[in-house]
């Protein structure tokens, strides 16, 4: 009894667990239940039940309601799909003037908008692509094919790679200094020499279009949300869902709306990249001291002047951090959108992985990572750079970077011209090194992979078999054994114990959505993979973080490593694991673990670091040893922050589990991937994406609520 009074929460939790397990044991597995059931609504099976809702037919296997809830939301994907189709092909037909056929044509409004948007995006991408690589589409866009036939010299020649490399180095120098400039130069030279120039520039042109557009929209919406509570309230749920939405899932509707290609990829990249920009804009604007705003108002600023002369410059750093985020998301999307036909490194990577040519994949992946790191460092340097005063510099000092670039521009052109004489009849290496004509290390890597396979095959195979048979399969079976009602009770109970009625309701709504969708089983499989990844990641991350924290240098080093790993587009992680473990669940899980360990480690170090110095000194003066200090002072205080790390770990793990579908899993991600090649996939893809997002949000809600309460309790809110 004493114990019960002392820890009432503990007993509440115990009670919840007892109820949960009681339900699990009380509800039997129906005899007809089998896991592999395809997409019930497309298979016609006499054993299925059918219901109609809003005129849509939904088929499913009926079980005891306690075991699995019927898919009452099964009409949603079909309905979304039909609505999209209707909007695109039938809604609001209007007359539009057709330039080519010189006559009016009737077309649905949305289709026309989509076409115009598409051609505008295509034009932007082509423009930048042709500046970097050369081509004639841009000129044609302004004139006609006949015109270019008459004046073939008008074709854009493209910049020699030397100039782009010099430009990157000079820009890096201006933003940060010699170190970054050197890195930029070497990266560009590497890309060029190893024959990745063309795909790299294609990817770069993609980002140069997507990132600025995302920035503008994000900033605009962020300002709107800052100014109006109503806009913020409307945006907030979307922002929340987008944070945990797997990037695959948004690709599917994009296919329907904009078709296949770079333009669709750019548009959908914006959908993903705008939310973080909005969030950081709001954050930055909110962080401005109120007195600065008042000072602006008292200076007689109009609203417009206040925004652009006071608020935005003051929030400069946060907004530029937003730019950094946008660039990183764009990069990650540049790879993933290869699935809907975006050209560039991502496409090559996908192709190589599909052919199991690990060597080629590695080369492409390395290029992607190098460019990602470079752009990340550049944009961060820009954000941290403070304005300088240059009123009293000479003309040369003020414009030296421009002058240097102009000089390298001229030199580059001369070099390229000289190159035409040196490399007569073959490729002009001083102009552009064509794809696959550079040095290739693919063979070397492939041989390496073969050697690893030949040498360690037995061990890897043994490990693989053990993991799958003795750990993963039983774990999966356990998760699938949970009756839906028991899971619901557990989730809602946890919500209630942590955050009261409000949390319980939110969690209940999110869980019900998934339970009532046709993919509850798949969600459980996703959950099991994510759980496995998260547990191992946290074990590794918390341990490594705590160990590294013991020494300032190693902590800083570890954070640096985390930074770099986080810069890699998620897809890249699949390369090395496929190299070692082939196409198995093990590969996916290892990628998940590597990826999800990053936030676990980072938040552990940050949390431990944030313990106030005063407390350290107080502890030292009371004569604690290192271990006591860690367990009695540092862990309790850092724990809330570490739990935020757990939250991030879950998001990262879910993300990678979904991406892992590419290797071949049987969870929600696999269905999203299937939806990509399904002409009726849009609704399915979107609903699946929302399911995954909701899994993330359930944990997000629980953890954040708990952390908020805990921090208040500790007085560190």
């Amino acid at each position: 009894m004493e114990y019960l009074k002392k820890y009432p929460k503990l007993f509440q939790w115990l009670f919840l667990l007892i109820v949960f397990f009681a339900l699990c044991f009380a509800i039997d597995v129906p005899e007809t239940y089998k896991f592999i059931r395809g997409q019930a609504e497309f298979v016609k099976d006499p054993n299925q039940s059918v219901y109609f809702f809003l005129g849509k037919e939904v088929r499913y296997y009926a079980f005891d309601v306690f075991w699995r809830l019927p898919p009452l939301l099964g009409w949603l994907p079909i309905w979304i799909n039909d609505s999209l189709f209707f909007l695109m092909n039938e809604w609001m037909p209007m007359e539009f003037w057709n330039e080519d056929t010189q006559e009016f044509k009737t077309r649905p409004l949305l289709l026309e908008i989509s076409r115009n948007l598409t051609s505008f995006m295509t034009f932007l991408i082509e423009l930048i692509r042709e500046i970097l690589l050369g081509g004639l589409e841009t000129i044609v866009a302004f004139t006609s094919w006949d015109f270019i036939d008459a004046y073939p010299w008008l074709e854009l020649p493209g910049l020699p790679w030397t100039i782009v490399a010099a430009g990157a180095a000079i820009l890096s120098y201006k933003l940060s200094g010699k170190g970054l400039a050197l890195f930029a130069g070497l990266t560009m030279i590497y890309i060029s020499i190893f024959g990745q120039w063309k795909p790299s520039m294609q990817t770069l042109s993609f980002i140069l279009v997507a990132a600025p557009l995302s920035f503008i929209f994000g900033l605009g919406l962020g300002i709107a949300a800052y100014k109006s509570k109503r806009v913020e309230k409307a945006l907030y749920p979307i922002l929340l869902v987008m944070q945990t939405m797997p990037q695959y899932a948004v690709l599917v509707p994009a296919l329907v709306l904009f078709g296949v290609g770079d333009h669709a990829a750019v548009i959908i990249t914006m959908v993903v990249a705008v939310p973080p920009m909005i969030l950081l804009t709001i954050l930055g604007l909110r962080a401005i001291p109120p007195e600065v705003i008042e000072a602006g108002r008292m200076s007689g600023c109009t609203n417009w002047q206040l925004m652009f002369k006071v608020l935005i410059p003051t929030a400069r750093r946060d907004i530029l951090i937003g730019v950094n985020q946008v660039i990183m998301v764009c990069f990650s999307m540049a790879v993933i959108s290869a699935f809907i036909g975006a050209k560039g490194l991502g496409f090559n990577l996908l192709l190589a992985l599909n052919q199991l040519n690990i060597g080629l994949a590695l080369e492409a992946g390395l290029c992607i990572s190098l460019i990602a790191i470079l752009l990340d460092k550049m944009s961060l340097a820009w954000a941290n750079k403070q304005t300088d005063y240059f009123g009293n510099l000479t003309f040369f000092q003020r414009n030296k970077n421009v002058i240097f670039f102009a000089a390298s521009f001229v030199i580059g052109i001369i070099l390229a011209y000289v190159g035409t004489f040196i490399f007569k009849g073959s490729f002009n290496y001083l102009f552009e090194i064509p794809h696959n004509k550079g040095i290739s290390t693919a063979d070397f890597w492939n041989k390496g992979v073969d050697w690893i396979f030949d040498t360690f095959f037995v061990y890897i195979k043994a490990f693989n078999t053990w993991l799958i048979q003795d750990v993963l399969q039983p774990m999966r079976a356990l998760y699938l054994r949970m009756p839906a009602v028991a899971t619901l009770v557990l989730a809602v109970g946890a919500g209630y114990l942590i955050g009261g009625v409000r949390s319980a309701l939110v969690v209940a709504a999110l869980t019900l959505f998934i339970a009532l969708s046709p993919w509850w089983d798949r969600a459980l499989v996703t959950l099991y993979m994510a759980t496995f990844g998260v547990v191992i990641s946290c074990l590794i991350g918390f341990t490594v973080g705590t160990l590294c924290f013991q020494n300032k240098k190693s902590a800083a080093f570890m954070l640096g490593v985390c930074d770099i790993f986080q810069t890699f587009p998620s897809f890249v992680y699949l390369i090395p694991v496929m190299m070692l473990f082939g196409i198995t669940d093990t590969s996916v899980l290892i990628a998940v673990i590597v990826y999800a360990t990053i936030p676990a480690t980072r938040y552990t170090i940050e949390g431990l670091r944030s313990v106030p110095v005063g407390l350290h000194e107080a502890a030292t003066m009371s004569g604690v040893n290192k271990f006591q200090r860690l367990t009695k002072i540092e862990f309790p205080l850092a724990f809330p922050h570490m739990m935020l790390g757990l939250n991030q770990t879950i998001v990262f793990a879910l993300f990678m589990v979904i991406i892992g579908a590419f290797i071949g899993t049987e969870d929600l991600g696999q269905y999203i991937l299937k939806a990509l090649s399904d002409k009726n996939g849009a609704g399915i893809g979107l609903t699946l994406g929302i399911c995954v997002a909701f899994i993330g949000l359930i944990f997000d809600n629980l953890i954040r609520t708990w952390v908020g309460k805990r921090k208040k309790h500790l007085g560190i809110a």
């Binding site: 007195e291 000072a295 008292m298 007689g300």
Partner: protein, 343 residues
């Protein structure tokens, strides 16, 4: 009395959703407690006063007393819930946005506790900012800003960024910026509170020097009673949104209106605040000694002289007419009397 520049009539500021309605229902009897129970917080409670041209009104109160809120009502950074505010006869609350901007651009300047400088602009650009907002061309605004730089003694630092300056220097920039448009009305919201004591004293002296020269109409907010005594023409002491007493420093020290005000005055060295006129008696013809003192002299400066006298000391005005007399013992009474452990 010269013309009134700022005039407040029963100004209320109440925070909360139904503030306006609740104020109307209260019929002018606002009780902070009952309001708080209903979810409203009273910031300013029935403030009425006037500030004359060239006068410095110091509003003094502890944190949460509503002094900053009052200032923000008068600069209309926040809208008062009730009452009327007149700036040079214009009804401030009736102004539309455009007129308000015009008023701020030409008539008002404000200095903030945390300096509130724009981090991306240099000293001279910060000072020129209000001018450029107004539409003054760059050359003119910069040359005017340079004058202000000299006025506040920052020459040579005009191209520094705020982050490169000390707190005192940053506040000089803040002061210069608020004066750049040559406003008639000058609001200062705890301008020296964030500074070290030594720098604060230096800035106060500098501020008095500036005011001597510029003769602005000033509302100065502070939580430091000594600062209020040192600077003010008149002091308004606020507590819980109510102005407890509004009077000259001498009257506040001599006749505190409420117990709350008295607590502040107890520790004040009176000889540094009061002048002879405040404590002198009626003129007496007989028994007058040879020593004569001016009625405007601060007691501290003449106390020693007076205390050596045995007879009454004559008090004269600027024309050397006798207007009063003072007993040496009166000085001792003033300095030591009326204190906590005094007689």
């Amino acid at each position: 009395m010269s013309e009134t520049v700022i005039k407040c009539e029963s100004v209320y500021k109440i925070f909360g959703e139904n503030a306006k309605k609740m104020l109307e229902e209260s019929n002018g009897h606002v009780d902070a407690k009952t309001f708080q129970e209903k979810g409203c917080i009273v910031g300013v409670n029935n403030a009425s006063f006037e500030v004359a041209k060239g006068e410095m009104l110091v509003v003094m109160g502890l944190s949460g007393s509503g002094k900053s809120t009052l200032l923000r009502c008068i600069s209309r950074l926040t809208d008062a819930t009730g009452g009327k505010i007149f700036i040079e006869g214009q009804d401030l609350l009736e102004l539309n946005n455009k007129e308000l901007i015009e008023l701020r651009r030409n008539k008002m300047g404000m200095v903030f506790q945390s300096f509130a400088l724009l981090p991306h602009k240099t000293v001279v650009e910060n000072i020129a900012f209000p001018l450029q907002i107004k539409g003054t061309n760059t050359e003119e605004s910069i040359s005017r800003a340079m004058e202000m730089v000299k006025l506040v003694g920052l020459d040579g630092r005009e191209n520094y960024f705020p982050r490169e300056l000390s707190g005192g220097q940053q506040q000089r920039v803040g002061i210069a910026r608020s004066l750049a448009v040559e406003p008639d009305i000058w609001f200062l919201d705890e301008p020296f509170s964030a500074l070290d004591p030594l720098i604060r004293k230096e800035m106060q002296d500098e501020f008095l020097r500036l005011q001597e020269k510029l003769q602005k109409t000033i509302m100065f907010i502070t939580h430091d009673f000594d600062e209020a005594l040192k600077l003010a023409d008149r002091i308004a002491i606020m507590k819980d949104g109510i102005i407890e007493q509004l009077d000259t420093p001498a009257n506040i020290v001599l006749n505190p209106a409420t117990e709350y005000v008295r607590k502040f005055t107890e520790e004040v060295p009176r000889e540094k605040v009061l002048i002879i006129e405040d404590v002198m008696d009626a003129p007496s013809k007989d028994n007058l000694g040879d020593l004569k003192v001016s009625k405007d002299e601060i007691i501290e400066n003449v106390a020693e002289k007076i205390l050596t006298q045995e007879k009454l000391v004559g008090v004269v005005d600027s024309n050397n007419n006798i207007v009063g007399s003072i007993k040496p013992s009166k000085i001792i009474d003033t300095v030591f009397g009326g204190r906590k452990n005094g007689s």
